[in-house]
Symmetry: C2
Subunit: 284 residues, 2 copies
């Protein structure tokens, strides 16, 4: 014999209502069911919980203590149900380095207008998949293909490749550059965040040497002029820095911006977010 929530609800209702009969009405069941439920609870606990007379029903000493516990249990269960339902009223979008660049304000504004019930939160994560795996985000922005079978992803738009050079670099005077212009330069790769741009670099024009830095601040090194960097447009937009200029690389392939999520467990609002972002990248 085991304690069941139904029995605890019954106990609380009886004490609150004062009689078994009124408790039955409050619970929407017959008086017989209430009587049996409480009897089974008392049998399960091996203790008399209520003193019944034909006039009133009063809790025993044990009954009072058990009642307090029962209220706590039922309160906790309510919290649990609320907590489970609260997943729908919040969408946490993870980003590792760059969020959505120049689209971020518009995205937040239009999301709030279209989905006032679902709070949008942008959260910084170590990587798109790590954010999902650790349940820190419901949907993650990622700029490379997702090979993990547990996750699914969709391309929401394309971003230009920019190269980052020191402000006093000769290239900084040009409106745009080509990959060939970067030959012979040293490409700066940030190993810390796991972000490398080398594979996006066309192989035939890849810099002869690449310098691997484990830097906290990628831009500081760029500003020294010792290296150049390649990055997506959103990153450039999000990390302006005196001494560093960004220039579009005309012949570099654009970067696909993706949203990733748990394949078999997408957030209820995921599809809406994907569609809104796609529209923004399309220019709508």
């Amino acid at each position: 014999m085991d304690v069941e929530l139904r029995q605890l609800r019954c106990l609380v209702a009886i004490v609150d209502e004062g009689t078994f009969t009124d408790a039955a009405i409050a619970l929407g069941v017959s008086q017989a069911a209430v009587s049996r439920s409480l009897a089974s609870l008392e049998r399960a606990l091996g203790v008399r919980l209520l003193r019944r007379t034909s006039r009133e029903v009063t809790p025993t000493g044990t009954g009072l203590r058990v009642l307090a516990h029962a209220r706590r249990v039922l309160g906790e269960v309510d919290d649990l149900v609320r907590e489970a339902a609260s997943g729908h009223d919040r969408l946490r979008m993870g980003y590792a380095w760059a969020a959505l660049g120049r689209h971020t304000p518009a995205f937040q504004r239009r999301w709030a207008a279209a989905h006032p019930a679902t709070d949008l939160q942008l959260v910084r994560v170590n990587s798109a998949t790590a954010g999902l795996a650790e349940a820190a985000s419901d949907l993650s922005v990622v700029r490379r293909p997702v090979d993990d079978r547990r996750f699914d992803s969709a391309i929401v738009g394309l971003e230009r490749r920019l190269c980052a050079v020191a402000a006093d670099d000769p290239l900084a005077r040009r409106r745009a550059v080509r990959l060939a212009d970067l030959s012979g330069r040293t490409l700066l790769v940030d190993r810390r965040t796991g972000t490398t741009t080398t594979e996006l670099w066309p192989p035939d024009s890849r810099p002869a040497t690449e310098e691997i830095h484990d830097v906290d601040d990628w831009l500081t090194v760029i500003a020294t002029g010792r290296c150049v960097g390649m990055t997506a447009e959103a990153t450039a937009h999000q990390y302006p820095r005196p001494g560093v200029v960004y220039r579009p690389v005309r012949d570099a392939e654009p970067v696909a911006v993706r949203l990733a999520w748990w394949r078999d467990d997408p957030h209820p609002a995921a599809q809406a977010a994907i569609e809104l972002l796609t529209a923004l990248y399309r220019g709508d």
Copy 2:
């Protein structure tokens, strides 16, 4: 559809054991039952709680939060069951004015020896029945008949009547007195505790006048010599006071000492306490 404890136990077991199959073994049910239970919980909450693969089972973000709540709920239920069972390991004996007088130490000693698992607590209550009604005591010492139908009582022994007189009263020089010796004196009655001794007085020899005092300290008035008092032996034993002496009243009927309890809900150890006290009063 409602959340049930069985479902929560299931969720916790799955996460702890790692697979549905092992959880089923741990819960002592079939794997199919575990699968169904969790499915029904997810349906009730409207949320996916676990991600299943053929290799491992990992909680969803919501699943993690719900899991934490579930553990709390189950912990509370355990507390509730423990609390209900704990009634048996404690016997609270209430007393209003005098406890058991000179028998108190022996009672405590012999109870501890005979019932080491049941902790004996002596608690001061406003009145025997009030202590029971407020669930402050499980068993109350009372020295008058209990007329409340809700309670039952048993006589455990008899105590001599003592009269309390000032130390410089002529009666203080006698080893014992008779009711007739108190004729003409003023009998002090304590209305505050509801204790009156007049009805124990043989009607024909009852003091001519009685002075009703609403005193905090009965003994202080006795010591002034203005009044005399009548009390049970246990009270005299429990409240010695310089300036007041107690003398047995030979021809006063002894007082019946009773234990009272809720008629339809006696403490499991009540009978044992009654028997032990009876033996002590008998002189065993």
